[in-house]
Symmetry: C2
Subunit: 592 residues, 2 copies
């Protein structure tokens, strides 16, 4: 598509605006089909974004995108058409707003629920500096479940500043939004539209001026927090959007405003509209996924053991738990984007004798850090954290890499940390977990590079596995399937050069297999982990061997945020490089 | 006081119940005057706790105390009178509910906002197991600001189970509760009581049956979440409490209930009622405190620099910021118990050009972990975290020790971590911080053991300070005032034995002073830190010296949760022991 030049939007006629929306939609579809990315959420926000750019004056006015996965139209309207086909490619545009990328991206996001807090900071700074511009938080209904939103709303009156909250309500998180707030919003949508709320299409019904149809107590829910409620607006009717936004802009002089916009996820593309969950994110996955094994194995456990419960925070499908939820609806809970609450729920379920399995992405587990320490581990409760998307996750960039978990978990007392070498071992760990009497974290990447299942290894709690034993003076300790894959390739190359090394599957970071480590006679120990080096496996091994005279070389990621790119490329570039490991073996090779 | 034997409460007459309340109040006052502890919050909850024990059947019924600092009457009513004078003493009763201590403590707490989530877990487990008992969450109004409460309320309907939420509303957190929810609760209290809400005394006015005076939209606020709202009840009128709790117990058969109880913090003790903030916690502090220096130095900075802002999460007084708040009301924000929101607010204030200082206790900062990573550090924004109560904090036990921060912070890219050696250096670090262009964490304990200010050292970013230089083959690296105090005493004793060591103030954990470390010729390096050993200073130094042949010995805390006790005792017992450090010097002493 062509670059929309400055001022063009401001002058465009209604039909020209419609054309621009069409161009943007086409460009998003084309780019995502090449680069992957978030599809349905972006298609659903096109008219709304165009209307915001028409009514407000960015970058003078500030907009914070909650989660940020719906910012594509914004990028296309802020001088980034030319770069758009580099979306999510290394060195190219980020799939999320990013301060370094454009002055139009005033605040970077990636995780849910941060936008209103962030908008309040910009608004307060504006007031203190005596400036005059609008600050907008664009928030999806899925994020409205998150506690952060409540904390921010609760402080609107404390901060005495004005922000515009645009609630982009499509009734969906990745899948359907759950919980009481979602029900309230749905009630408001339905009442406000007077057309059942289910059949939003272009301008199927007159929506404006129906605010008085919405139950006063629902409106009051927002007014409690000092917000003027405006809505419900049809998010695909440009005329209605423009009128409402102008009205909201004017109202902003008097106080904070919540504009409730009803959109349809995937709007404008029949396939996406009909399959919004499946087209939420379009990736380049492939191969067997750990998530599928999780769902299967948990279901097997649940059949035999009535104590087994699965908990997720709005990620049922991507964590592989759809089947479990269908089979055991009474023992499967999706609590919405509430990672903290989910952790405590698991802790108390465990305290009451149940066996909760909490499946979550590595990066989102950061949200529950205090609860892991304070609720689960301080009480040594048998909660199993199934940590998916661990290690480098690739194209979503800094905010989504799962490269910190080994470090932030390893310092927590009472926690066992397991890292399976393949899907068969992952299944064995899950079966083992049912007999544990304390908390366990199992971390794994998305895909199994092996593709097929391995014969099952004999798994023993806290014990490493020796995969290849030699008289070489070098030992390779590799954690997890990706690192073992690299280690095996390195060994294969090394042996062609007449070199060799012992290879160990370091499948428990905690407890560390001190017995095996003590027995290692080799003088050079090389560790590999799909994690930052600070605080991970390398450090744990170094701590053990401190003052032993052994030489330890650790491969993993440096002390930096890792941007978006392809998983394999990033792993290699940021520290897990076969050539470098091989060079290390060459340099230190000797026979014992 | 005597032990209240089983069944006694159930049979007691109204006047006997009143006597029991009197006995409990006396016992709490006496014990706290000896052992320290939470005073006003416990005094205010006596009648409510007696009434709960009368109406419900613990431990069959389950009760979760939010924060848990108001559980003293519960302990006295559950067989722990005899042990009560060991409160908060090492090996004695915990000041918080603790699973290991009594079957009446079904769930341990310490941090705010967890009780409803925990109650939901117990309730759901009960349903799944086909049991029949009540589950109660006792929550203060201060916690109602926290996002966790909202996340739990939002999932009431998802979980389809029944809990009783008792809102113990005294209008106070540690100081007055802030925010919109607090305003709503105040409105409800006032309307429900019809006596202004400010003059709650025994039975000054008829309270029962006034629920219809409460605005319907306020009640609806809770009904949205699937709660039946009951209130407002006078929390010091036993008759009213018992009637309401019986009513709530019956209603629990039909669904979840919120019982709104109005109490007065410090009730029954004139001094506490009049000074609830000052008598919230009664400790055995003393000496100069870092918090006072923080308040003074920030005020000085704020006078010169209009960008300076102070943010706290309901801890203004204990963090030393009362004066700042009075002097700069427009640039000081207490957002309530919302550690996550506060962090993002700081991040966006910094993104907009301000210089936010976020003061918080080490243990509570765990709540904001994702926001430190995702909002502050990934964007490299100049937010200064002033981390008070770092290291062992003592008598509040496991949930309040600040012994993890060096570890969980050191793995975060872009973050500078400073550990002042005394208050003068702390002030210098604060002055330095105003010129930094990225995030900074400064961590310090409550008290300065030195008592007086030291002459100011010349502080250089990322540079250690050599305090004592010798030709000994041993170097001591100590982080923070407490560890330097131990190191100095060890050195003094060592020199009396003809031994010696170089002493270095390791005042930046990150960036590590690699220049100085490289220049150290000694072969034995001893590190001291008031933190767990995993992931802290010792590990960072070991990582640097890896493969150097140096011997590293690290002193700090083991991989365990540290219970309550006196700070000095715990430090010594858990790993910072003068004798042990001296023994290490004796063993490795040599001259270079």
């Amino acid at each position: 598509m062509r670059e929309i030049v400055s001022g063009e939007l401001k002058r465009a006629s209604p039909s020209q605006l419609k054309d621009i929306c069409g161009e943007i939609r086409e460009e998003i579809l084309s780019a995502v089909s090449v680069c992957g990315g978030h599809l349905s959420s972006n298609l659903g926000a096109v008219e709304l974004t165009v209307a915001l750019h028409r009514v407000f004056d960015f970058p003078r006015d500030k907009i914070v995108f909650d989660v940020g996965h719906q910012c594509y139209a914004h990028k296309l309207l802020s001088g980034r058409v030319g770069a758009f086909r580099t979306l999510r490619q290394e060195g190219g545009l980020s799939g999320f707003p990013k301060r370094g990328e454009s002055e139009y991206d005033c605040y970077g996001t990636g995780h849910a629920g941060t936008a209103i807090s962030a908008a309040l900071g910009f608004a307060k700074a504006r007031d203190l500096k005596g400036e005059d511009h609008a600050v907008i938080a664009l928030v999806g209904d899925g994020s409205f479940n998150n506690g952060l939103i409540y904390e921010a709303l609760n402080s609107l009156k404390i901060l005495k500043t004005n922000v515009l909250i645009v609630l982009n309500d499509n009734g969906m998180s990745i899948s359907e939004t759950v919980g009481s707030m979602a029900a309230v919003l749905k009630e408001m949508r339905s009442a406000g539209e007077g057309c059942g709320g289910e059949e939003l299409r272009g301008s199927c019904c007159e929506l404006s001026g129906r605010a008085d149809a919405i139950p006063a107590e629902d409106v009051r829910l927002f007014e409690h927090f000092g917000l003027r409620y405006m809505g419900v607006v049809n998010g695909h009717d440009m005329g209605e959007l423009l009128a409402s936004l102008e009205q909201a802009k004017a109202a902003l002089k008097e106080g904070s405003v919540l504009l409730h916009v009803h959109t349809r996820k995937g709007f404008g593309h029949a396939f996406c509209e009909n399959a919004p969950t499946e087209t939420h994110g379009v990736g380049s996955g492939g191969g067997t996924e750990y998530s599928a094994a999780l769902g299967e194995e948990l279901a097997r456990l649940a059949e035999k053991d009535k104590r087994v419960i699965a908990v997720t925070a709005a990620m049922t499908d991507s964590l592989g738990l759809r089947g479990f939820f269908e089979k055991f609806p009474g023992r499967a809970f999706d609590v919405g984007i509430c990672e903290e609450h989910a952790s405590i729920l698991c802790a108390s379920l465990a305290a009451a004798g149940m066996r909760p399995y909490y499946a979550i992405y590595s990066t989102f587990l950061q949200r529950a850090y205090d609860e892991i320490i304070h609720d689960v581990c301080a009480q040594a409760l048998p909660v199993v954290f199934c940590i998916d998307r661990a290690g480098i996750t690739g194209r979503d960039g800094e905010t989504h890499q799962g490269v910190f978990d080994l470090s932030y978990l390893s310092l927590i007392p009472n926690l066992t940390i397991a890292i399976p070498k393949d899907i068969a071992e992952f299944r064995a760990m899950l079966r083992m977990s049912i007999h544990m009497d304390g908390p366990l974290a199992i971390r794994y990447p998305r895909e199994s590079t092996e593709g097929a299942e391995q014969p099952e290894s004999s798994l023993e709690m806290g014990k490493f596995e020796v995969l290849h034993s030699t008289m070489s003076d070098i030992v390779l300790l590799a954690a997890g399937e990706r690192c073992l894959h690299i280690a095996r390739r390195v060994l294969w190359r090394a042996r062609r050069e007449g070199l060799d090394a012992t290879l160990i599957n370091a499948r428990f970071l905690k407890p560390l297999d001190e017995g095996l480590l003590s027995a290692i006679g080799a003088h050079t120990v090389i560790t590999l982990e799909d994690n930052v080096l600070i605080g991970g496996l390398g450090d744990a091994v170094s701590r053990f061997y401190r003052s032993s005279g052994k030489k330890i070389f650790s491969f993993g990621y440096p002390d930096a945020f890792i941007p978006h790119g392809a998983v394999g490329d990033l792993m290699r570039e940021y520290g897990l490089d076969e050539d470098a490991v091989l060079a290390c073996i060459r340099e230190h090779y000797a026979r014992r």
